[in-house]
């Protein structure tokens, strides 16, 4: 029998205890992994939004708590246009309100003149007209969810709009929402003359980092967003999510560690005599340490695998809610599963170190006499 099978057979001696411990650790790992999936998905969704329509970067008002609270004036937009490297600036007004079953129906108000610079490939119909105020383009997911087609009506804040086009951008929140005339959104948002963000496209060969640095340096009130790492400047949400995620991870390691410590301490205590025999038969303290740590690691590895599977199932169940699927597509990236695995290993080591050293330090003669 290989050493690893020996370790496994020790775990199987107390099937219920092992099973319950695995289950307990799994739940912690499920929490960490599922939360990680959501944080990553939320980040991906936010990133998609800042680079929506093929923008090179986005400009927002600096220092706001949430990106949707940002306000840019017509002067801000004009100022951006003075930069030579900038090819085009589209001011857009973002709004979120309940439409149909979707509580977070996403709306982008954009000027018809800016539409050629906003990449939203139509799958049906046409762009809204230059002077239209009651026309709307909806995403393919929104079309499904609202069961609306070309010529149909979508009501936003009790105002009816006629669907003239259906697009597919590949961006979850956009495809579950709508693109409509800027003036219409500004009117129902009561924000005449203001926009939320400016989508910027630059001329070929522009060093985007250098340009955004310059814009920030020259305009204190503006924040530039070229990727997810910049979002913290205009949105505390992601930072809070990251902090919560880290907090839960640390908590999971400690709670799991204590659970494993309890299990391993019991396993070591009730096998005192056996450890004495193993030592008497020539087992080194190192091998005893390896055995106890190995049992703990194996236990937590099972929990990591089981917990990760549970997390995926849980996530898939949660995105069945239209409210969630409206702005998030689950991102199953390797890093969240590695984080789950790291929690498992952390829990295993934290929980096993004390019992393992106790087992290794037992005097063989005392342990053999132990009844």
């Amino acid at each position: 029998m290989t050493f690893i099978l020996f370790i496994l057979s020790n775990l199987l001696r107390q099937k219920i205890r092992t099973g319950l411990t695995v289950l307990g650790i799994s739940i912690g790992i499920t929490t960490v992994v599922a939360l990680g999936i959501f944080v990553n998905s939320a980040k991906a969704a936010t990133e998609e939004l800042i680079l929506a329509g093929g923008a090179d970067f986005t400009v927002a008002e600096a220092g706001v708590a949430d990106m949707t609270f940002s306000s840019l004036t017509t002067e801000d937009l004009a100022l951006l246009e003075t930069y030579d490297e900038i090819e085009h600036v589209s001011g857009v007004e973002l709004a979120i309100s309940k439409v149909g079953a979707n509580a977070y129906f996403f709306q982008i108000g954009i000027d018809a003149g800016d539409l050629p610079f906003f990449d939203a490939p139509l799958v049906e119909g046409r762009l809204f007209g230059a002077d239209a105020t009651d026309e709307i383009m909806i995403g393919d997911r929104a079309a499904d969810q609202l069961d609306a087609g070309i010529g149909g009506t979508v009501e936003i804040r009790d105002i009816p709009f006629t669907v003239v086009g259906i697009y597919d951008t590949g961006t979850t929140s956009l495809d579950a929402g709508a693109i409509l005339p800027l003036a219409a959104v500004q009117e129902y948002d009561s924000r005449e003359g203001l926009v939320t963000l400016a989508y910027v496209t630059v001329r070929d060969g522009t060093d985007i980092d250098a340009l955004t640095d310059r814009i920030k340096a020259e305009n204190e009130g503006l924040a530039t967003l070229a990727g997810i790492d910049d979002v913290g400047a205009v949105d505390q949400g992601i930072e809070i999510l990251d902090a919560v995620n880290l907090g839960i991870t640390i908590l999971a390691v400690f709670i799991g560690g204590i659970a494993v410590m309890n299990t391993m301490a019991m396993a070591v205590f009730e096998r005192t005599r056996e450890f004495g025999i193993l030592r008497a038969l020539g087992w080194r303290t190192r091998r005893i340490l390896q055995m106890v740590l190995g049992e703990s690691l194996l236990l937590c590895l099972f929990a990591a695998v089981f917990g990760s599977i549970l997390a995926v199932i849980l996530t898939q169940l949660i995105v069945l809610f239209p409210t969630v699927s409206a702005f998030i597509t689950p991102q199953y990236t390797l890093d969240v599963f590695l984080r789950g695995l790291a929690v498992g290993i952390g829990v295993a080591l934290l929980g096993a170190i004390y019992p393992a050293f106790r087992a290794a330090r037992l005097s063989p003669a005392q342990a053999i006499r132990y009844e």
Binding site: F6, E274, A280, G282
Partner: protein, 246 residues
């Protein structure tokens, strides 16, 4: 006496106390065993037999005195684990086997600290189980074996790494008289056949009588007279060693 080349175990003035000196488990014990000899130690419960055996097995460090095995002072040894694994084979009275392992796996336990491959470990274990008459029980767990069979597994395990010395602490203590006799016969066969030195501890003087030589212990000391009686018996033991039975 320690200069004699055929003395394998030489214990001099061994003292071991417990409870901050209140219990003197060994109180100046002197004890010698010759190569290939079968010696039993007997005496009343609590007289220090197990303590002496544990000290020889390097499971416990004495307070004072010396233990030389094959001329080497074992308390000075750095690697006690390899001495325990290769230098001696140990057999205890009770709950001796790991319950979650089969007979074969139990016999393999001391072999984990050697360079043997998994396959070689299994082969060696099965060979030893055949030697102790359990060739058909290699896959049985302790709960599926009788007390006598379990003790045979323990004997096979003690032989795993071919140690020159076997130390048995009350090996028949939990067996009925028939199984006791069988275990004793097996131990003697092994001692002769494998040419090992066997030290057996038993509080039961009838069991102890099976040995070539018996020493008596009382209050942590070896009765000097019993040790003095040894030379006559020793010649018999040396003669029987040349005709292996296993």
């Amino acid at each position: 006496m320690s200069e004699q080349p055929d003395i394998v175990i030489d214990v001099q003035d061994l003292v071991k106390t417990y409870d901050e000196g209140r219990t003197r488990a060994l109180d100046g014990a002197n004890f010698q065993v010759r190569r290939g000899e079968f010696v039993s130690i007997t005496g009343p419960s609590g007289c220090g037999k197990s303590t002496l055996l544990h000290a020889i097995a390097a499971l416990e460090r004495p307070d004072s005195g010396t233990i030389r095995v094959n001329g080497e002072e074992i308390t000075a040894k750095r690697d006690l684990s390899s001495y325990r694994a290769q230098g001696i084979g140990l057999i205890f009275q009770l709950h001796n086997l790991l319950p979650n392992l089969t007979a074969s796996e139990n016999v393999q336990v001391p072999m984990y600290e050697t360079k043997r491959s998994t396959g070689a470990r299994r082969e060696r274990a099965e060979e030893l189980l055949r030697l102790v008459g359990l060739g058909d029980k290699v896959k049985k767990r302790p709960t599926q074996l009788s007390g006598g069979e379990r003790q045979r597994v323990a004997i096979a395990r003690a032989l795993a790494n071919d140690p020159p010395i076997i130390l048995a602490d009350e090996p028949t203590g939990s067996l009925d008289s028939k199984a006791s006799q069988q275990a004793l016969d097996l131990l003697r066969d092994v001692q002769r056949g494998q040419a090992v030195t066997l030290v057996l501890v038993s509080h039961d003087s009838r069991i102890a009588a099976a040995a070539d030589r018996t020493v008596y212990m009382l209050d942590g000391k070896i009765d000097a007279e019993s040790t003095d009686r040894s030379p006559e018996v020793e010649t018999d033991a040396a003669a029987s060693r040349s005709s292996p039975v296993v």
